[in-house]
Point group: C2
Chain length 162, copies 2
DNA sequence: TCAAAAAAGTTACAGCTCAAAGTATATAGG
DNA sequence: CCTATATACTTTGAGCTGTAACTTTTTTGA
């Protein structure tokens, strides 16, 4: 007999801790290289996908279009990114890395901290797999509500951010 | 041979999705009852702990003291919470639920959406346990960096939020 | 052809989040 | 007693985040 209410409560508690830890890691990364994790993810996404629309970045990093716009604003202010309007369809804006953008990207540390990486790598293969699949399961269950509204995402879209 | 780099990347991707889903759920909850998830967590924490200091709330909900202060500001503006300065030690501020605070708390929906709850409860007991322990593992590994700096937290502090 | 609908982005707004600096109070050591 | 340190909290400043409303451009259908 699973004690679901208690387990659900615990799920929430752990999720909150994870979210907080992610945030703290982002502050640490800022100190190291001057960029936040979301900024780095956007830059990497542009690097991986080449000249790319805001929509595609937004899908690839799992952030709303509006959020990506504000992140791009900051990156453009700092000259790490250029926006180029497409000739063909003038609604479309393509983001492109500048030289400095490419440079700064080389200085960025791993997005998960060293201790995490060490610990994770010290796990047995099957343990890594188990942790990963649990995480995936949670992610899918949490996304359920949203996927309904927007059913058919492009499953083949490249996912090569972090 | 575990493929750690790939696994690490996947961990990050899933974490981002989870964080986003949490955010979206918070917006959904706002529409339902006018309070965000962090606000509800703070209210519940006060309900559970009685008159309670900002520091204790902050520990119990895994948010910084500064964040709790801003959340309390909003809750106080809306008369859900009162701040009472301690007689003995005037540095200390105790938060207390008002009548309306207690009322509104009764109207708050579950903090994880229905589909999540259904799906989670439909898992076998051992699966729930596995998911939970993976989550706990991730949370602990991600926290490692922070626990170092502030080693001795009060392990016995009540955890009865969400 | 041309108005209506759709699509891509941006803006406005409100809340969350933290570190660091600031304020007020309490405690400890000389 | 009185200064130095520590504690409890608040303020400040900056970035992240999403929804809803908006602009511009394209597509669709009568």
């Amino acid at each position: 007999m699973p004690n679901s209410p208690q387990h659900l409560h615990d799920v929430l508690v752990h999720l909150r801790r994870i979210i907080r830890a992610t945030d703290l890691q982002s502050k640490r990364v800022v100190k190291a290289c001057g960029l936040t994790i979301p900024q780095i993810m956007v830059l990497r996404s542009i690097e991986a996908l080449g000249d790319v629309t805001v929509r595609k970045i937004s899908d690839s990093v799992s952030l709303s279009q509006a959020t990506v716009t504000t992140i791009l604003n900051r990156l453009e202010d700092r000259k790490y990114v250029e926006r180029v309007r497409a000739q063909k369809d003038k609604r479309i804006v393509n983001a492109r890395l500048t030289e400095s953008g490419l440079e700064i990207l080389k200085t960025t540390p791993p997005l998960l901290h060293e201790k995490f990486i060490d610990e994770f790598e010290s796990l047995e293969g099957w343990e890594q797999t188990q942790v990963l699949s649990s995480l995936q399961r949670i992610a899918m269950m949490m996304d359920a509500e949203n996927l309904d509204a927007a059913p058919l995402l492009d499953i083949n879209s490249p996912d090569s951010l972090a």
